[in-house]
């Protein structure tokens, strides 16, 4: 009885190890880019994404981040965004769209000599808030802007 149990466990371990290494190989070929944080881009709710990105971090709502977005975006596939800030020593800007299937759009890391300025074009699935989070030192600042989307930009059509 003991003997078979031990054998069973050994086999299970061997099988699991084999499976993990095989799956690992597969994973590497599909996601060629090992540094890309796939978990942060999960299709989930905004709060889960924020938790995944920043843990239990509190955000300071501020007007020191200026976000230029159209109030009404006629085409959700191309929504221009310009972020500037008077905050000092910003390390990252994170852009999220609350109601997109995957709320995280992009995270920009800025060097010391890089100005607190990023411009991009984003997709929005539907009318929702866009949230920009700036990390400066140990503090996290946030700014929310509501954007009304006339035609969603995440496909399905």
């Amino acid at each position: 009885m003991l003997e078979t149990r031990r054998k069973f466990i050994q086999k299970t371990i061997r099988f699991t190890a084999c499976f993990i290494s095989a799956a690992g190989g597969l994973f590497n070929t599909i996601i060629a880019n090992a540094t890309w944080p796939a978990d942060n881009f999960n299709e989930t709710q905004l709060n889960d994404t924020l938790q995944q990105l920043f843990g239990r971090q509190e955000f300071i709502e501020t007007d020191q981040i200026q976000v230029k977005l159209p109030k009404i975006a006629e085409n959700g596939a191309v929504v221009p965004i310009i972020i500037t800030s008077s905050l000092k020593k910003i390390e990252t800007f994170t852009i999220l769209a609350e109601k997109n299937p995957a709320p995280l759009i992009a995270q920009f890391t800025l060097a010391d000599e890089t100005e607190a300025y990023v411009s991009a074009r984003i997709k929005m699935a539907e009318t929702s808030d866009v949230i920009v989070i700036a990390k400066a030192g140990d503090a996290y600042y946030s700014k929310r802007i509501a954007v009304k989307v006339t035609i969603g930009g995440c496909g399905g059509g």
């Binding site: 596939a77 299937p101 995957a102 992009a106 000599e113 890089t114 300025y117 990023v118 074009r121 496909g155």
Partner: protein, 102 residues
């Protein structure tokens, strides 16, 4: 031809970099004419360098628009300096392009 176009502009002490990248940025949710899902294909990482020093590295998902446009500004930059931009996507494809400041 490179997929990356770079425009630079000197604004006093600051250099502005604007880039336009030819890329489908497919989310994996769109369907083709036959109603089949088009597989996800999007840029995951973008790196901007000034004379081989990274001034911005970004990670992104398919929430960035098709044929992405980005702009950055940095302090410094003089004639002859090199700006390099490179990207890598979820299928392991990549591209890079250099631009010498005028």
């Amino acid at each position: 031809m490179s997929s990356i176009k770079i425009r630079t502009k000197r604004l006093g002490d600051i250099t502005q970099i604007r880039t336009l990248i030819a890329h489908p940025m497919e989310t994996g949710r769109n369907k083709d004419e036959q109603g089949k899902l088009i597989p996800a294909h999007f840029i995951q990482e973008l790196t901007v360098k000034h004379n081989d020093k990274v001034i911005s590295s970004s990670v992104m998902g398919a929430g960035i628009s098709k044929n992405p446009y980005f702009a950055f500004k940095f302090i410094g930059g003089k004639t002859g300096d090199k700006i390099s931009i490179s990207w890598q996507d979820n299928l392991g494809q990549s591209d890079s392009q250099d631009k010498i400041l005028k």
